[in-house]
């Protein structure tokens, strides 16, 4: 009995592609929105996606022991997954869309030849999930490194978008040189309007990881989703009872194996009892490709056998070993002097919670770094210990904290940075400025400068000047205005360090001490004891 392909499932497959495109577009749109638009308060950005992510919700709440109300949206995804299976992965996830599209591209370009049948173990993502969950119990937030939303946002913000902006800027140079000044000007003005930061300390590593994750699709379709994604694993575990089952009509089936060969996630639709509901993402490839339209997605309330959920050899013994390994390994993250004494360079964004809670909540998505209008927020390499890798810190040499801006606090998806009004933000100290008198121009060279004083944004200024008599190498003296700092007024914004003309190692610099969020990283017990007295009011 020969019959053509199913038109119905081909249509649903197209609908799935459309859905992926729409969600990816929405994701990009919200992502682009996280910058200074001309409004002080920018409303919803891509953090809304994060709130629907059950893994981030679970891990962040458990690791920080703090409930964050926005994560209630994650219940929508949980319920949808219980009822319908991993449709989030197949139809919504923007990183899934990137992987599926690149898999498709690799297939079309013959970089990828689908094997007849895939036998590789699907277990790694479950082990990753277990490690992440065990970490959460110990107050460690590891979810952000491999969570698809966090991974994609970070990659776009710190590597892809900066590269595109640099490429456009380079193109502008060419356009100007060939006389197309009008177009070049339009592009350069647009780039400024989007306020795209192009300098990121870790841009290189973030970019390479992103390219690597995409390149893996040349080996297996949706490699990430099959083997690595802890969010997919969590949703897989919830898929035992879902109502939609992939079923093959044995009478129509010609046992060609195309369905299993083209399955994106190794869910093994053939034979019927080999299908893994925990792996299927309902992409409709199998039902659409079946030459005899033998495959159906049917509603059925019967729960799958546990072995059928994923059937990935998750033996009890291995699970216990992984859990134990996690319990042993995870404290390694805590073996860091960062817990004894604050790091001087670790200037967190305004509104960041106290370091323990901050580390437990930050998912390293890089949204704050994308939003920072001066590009001063940078991914941490070592300053915060191993668990702080990719968390944000202000590097004043690169960019300072703009006085009337609270964008980073508005875009944080997990509340690791508390949402602040601009007025509230300006009452906070994120650090304290210091003058290095052995490098400062008036102190050492006896020349006028006080650029730092000019730029200090608080009024009255936290940087004052005194008349200082410098003794020069030839024994003569020179009197100049030289900066001194009123620690009580200083907010630690870092514009002084940023604008200091001593380029390599600025003669005025900010360290984290005195930050409002810390009860221990303090300078004086009564610092900020009250509002500074205003001599002009």
């Amino acid at each position: 009995m020969k019959k053509g392909r199913s038109k119905k499932y081909r249509a649903i497959e197209r609908l799935r592609i459309l859905s992926q495109a729409v969600f990816f577009g929405l994701f990009l749109y919200l992502f682009f929105g996280a910058h200074y638009t001309g409004e002080d308060y920018i409303g919803s950005t891509v953090q809304r996606f994060f709130h629907f992510d059950p893994l981030l919700a679970l891990v962040t709440i458990v690791s920080s022991r703090l409930v964050y109300a926005y994560f209630a949206f994650a219940l929508v995804t949980v319920v949808a997954t219980i009822l319908l299976g991993r449709v989030f992965c197949g139809w919504v996830c923007p990183l899934g869309a990137v992987h599926q599209f690149s898999s498709f591209a690799f297939k079309k370009t013959k970089f990828l030849r689908p094997p007849r049948e895939d036998k590789a173990s699907l277990a790694p993502k479950y082990y990753i999930l277990i490690l992440v969950l065990v970490g959460a119990i110990f107050g460690l937030d590891l979810a952000g490194y491999l969570d698809p939303l966090s991974f994609l946002t970070r990659s776009l913000a710190l590597a892809v978008l900066p590269s595109v902006a640099m490429a456009v800027s380079g193109l502008n140079g060419i356009l100007y040189s060939i006389g197309a000044a009008g177009l070049a000007r339009t592009l350069s003005q647009a780039l400024q309007n989007w306020t795209i930061n192009v300098t990121f300390i870790q841009g290189f590593s973030v970019g390479l990881l992103f390219l690597g994750a995409i390149a893996l699709n040349a080996r297996k379709e949706r490699f990430w989703c099959r083997y690595l994604c802890p969010t997919g694993a969590l949703l897989g575990l919830l898929s035992r009872w879902n109502l939609i089952k992939v079923r093959i009509d044995d009478e129509k089936c010609i046992k060609c194996g195309l369905c299993t060969q083209h399955c994106e996630t190794q869910a093994h639709p053939y034979p019927n009892d080999g299908w893994k509901s925990g792996e299927c993402i309902y992409c409709q490839n199998c039902a659409s490709i079946c030459p005899t339209a033998a495959i159906d997605m049917r509603f059925s309330a019967r729960p799958e056998k546990l072995t059928n959920v994923s059937d990935v050899n998750l033996s009890r013994r291995k699970l216990i070993v992984t859990t134990l390994a996690g319990i042993v390994a995870i404290p390694f993250f805590k073996l860091t002097p960062a817990r004894k004494r604050a790091s001087l360079k670790l200037i967190r964004p305004p509104g960041a919670l106290a370091e323990d809670k901050f580390l437990a909540k930050c998912v390293k998505c890089g949204q704050c770094m994308r939003a920072c209008p001066t590009g001063g927020l940078q991914p941490v390499l070592t300053e915060a210990g191993p668990e702080g890798f990719y968390t944000p810190m202000l590097v004043p040499k690169i960019g300072y904290c703009e006085y009337y801006c609270s964008l980073c606090t508005q875009v944080c998806p997990t509340g690791a940075i508390r949402k602040l009004t601009i007025e509230a933000k300006n009452k906070l100290k994120i650090g304290t400025a210091w003058v290095n008198k052995s490098r400062c121009i008036p102190y050492v060279l006896g020349k006028p400068c006080i650029v730092c004083e000019e730029h200090c944004p608080v009024s009255p200024k936290a940087i004052k000047f005194i008349e200082y008599e410098a003794t020069l190498p030839d024994g003569t003296t020179a009197v100049q205005k030289a900066p001194v700092i009123d620690q009580e007024l200083c907010t630690g914004c870092g514009i002084c360090e940023n604008k200091c003309p001593v380029m390599d190692d600025p003669a005025i610099f900010v360290t984290s001490v005195g930050e409002t969020r810390s009860a221990t990283n303090r300078l004086l017990l009564d610092i900020s004891s009250g509002a500074p007295e205003d001599p002009y009011k």
Binding site: S169, A184, S188, Q189, Y404, I450, E453, S459, K481, M503
Partner: protein
């Protein structure tokens, strides 16, 4: 008596003594040659701007048909207009309108800001004002910055904004502010915003920098916004209490005289500002207001 009032009183008295007779002479002579300086006081920033330009003979005297005119306000800081850190947006709007009405092809407004550019452009209110008036607001473009010979006494060559250099006509629109290093920032100091590069090194000899830049950028017209001036915590202030309402606008063809008049609003003698002396010696203008034809009006 508050200190502010005291300063005001001194300034007013000084002005009356110094320029009183001159002002009458100016008025009497207004039928003859045009004044080099117009100082207009009034409630509306737009109206005093229009009046000052009219006193100088109208915008048509400075801008020709088809000109590409660059208007250079001070948009250096991420501050709203009531902080008096950036030029009053209504003054800039009025100038854009006048320039376009005079037949200019383009009215371009640009400044190399100190804080993040877009924030300064938006929050100063200038971007919106220029857009509404039909002018072009430009961000500084890295490819439109060029190191050029300034042939100054201190600055031999420096990076400058080509958009400013290539203008057919140039109007400098500073705001009068306190400055901690050079005491006051007026028209000459505003040219720092038309340069790029390591501008933070200018402070090592700010008076010479101002003079060299003033000699390089020669504006057809200088319009000093003193509607609201910044009297302390300069050059960016941060509170309304750092400012004083003076409701004055000074326009002139002699940039040094404009700055000298601006200084008088702060009770500062022009000869107390070294850059005015250096500028005069360089032949850029006159700071002795007794020698300048001034017309003062109140509307």
């Amino acid at each position: 008596m508050k200190r502010r009032d005291f300063v005001k009183g001194i300034a007013a008295a000084g002005l009356a003594l110094r320029f009183g007779p001159r002002a009458f002479a100016g008025q009497a002579a207004s039928l003859g040659p045009l004044p080099a300086l117009a100082a207009v006081e009034g409630e509306s920033p737009a109206a005093i701007t229009k009046e000052a330009i009219a006193v100088l003979g109208g915008m048509g005297k400075f801008v020709g048909k088809g000109d590409r005119v660059v208007i250079k306000p001070n948009i250096g800081w991420d501050r709203t207009p009531e902080m008096a850190a950036c030029t009053n947006p209504e003054v800039v709007r009025t100038l854009v309108e006048l320039v376009l009405d005079a037949g200019a092809k383009k009215a371009i407004v640009i400044d190399n800001t100190t804080n993040q550019a877009k924030r300064c452009y938006v929050r100063s209110g200038i971007q919106e004002a220029v857009k509404q008036a039909g002018g072009d607001m430009l961000f500084v473009d890295d490819y439109r910055v060029k190191k050029m010979p300034l042939k100054g006494e201190w600055l031999k060559d420096w990076e400058v904004l080509l958009d400013v250099v290539e203008a057919d006509k140039l109007i400098n629109v500073p705001i009068a502010k306190h400055h901690s290093l050079c005491r006051l920032t007026l028209g000459g100091k505003n040219w720092l915003g038309a340069t790029a590069g390591a501008r933070n090194q200018f402070h090592q000899s700010l008076d010479k920098t101002i003079t060299d830049l003033s000699a390089f950028f020669k504006p057809q017209l200088t319009v000093l916004d003193a509607y609201r001036i910044l009297v302390r915590n300069g050059p960016q202030g941060g509170r309304v209490s750092d400012t004083e309402l003076r409701k004055t606008l000074i326009a002139g063809t002699d940039p040094v005289a404009v700055d000298a008049y601006g200084a008088s609003l702060f009770g500062v003698e022009p000869r107390e500002l070294p850059y005015l002396g250096l500028s005069r010696d360089r032949g850029l203008g006159e700071f002795d207001l007794g020698k300048v034809r001034i017309e003062k009006r109140k509307i």
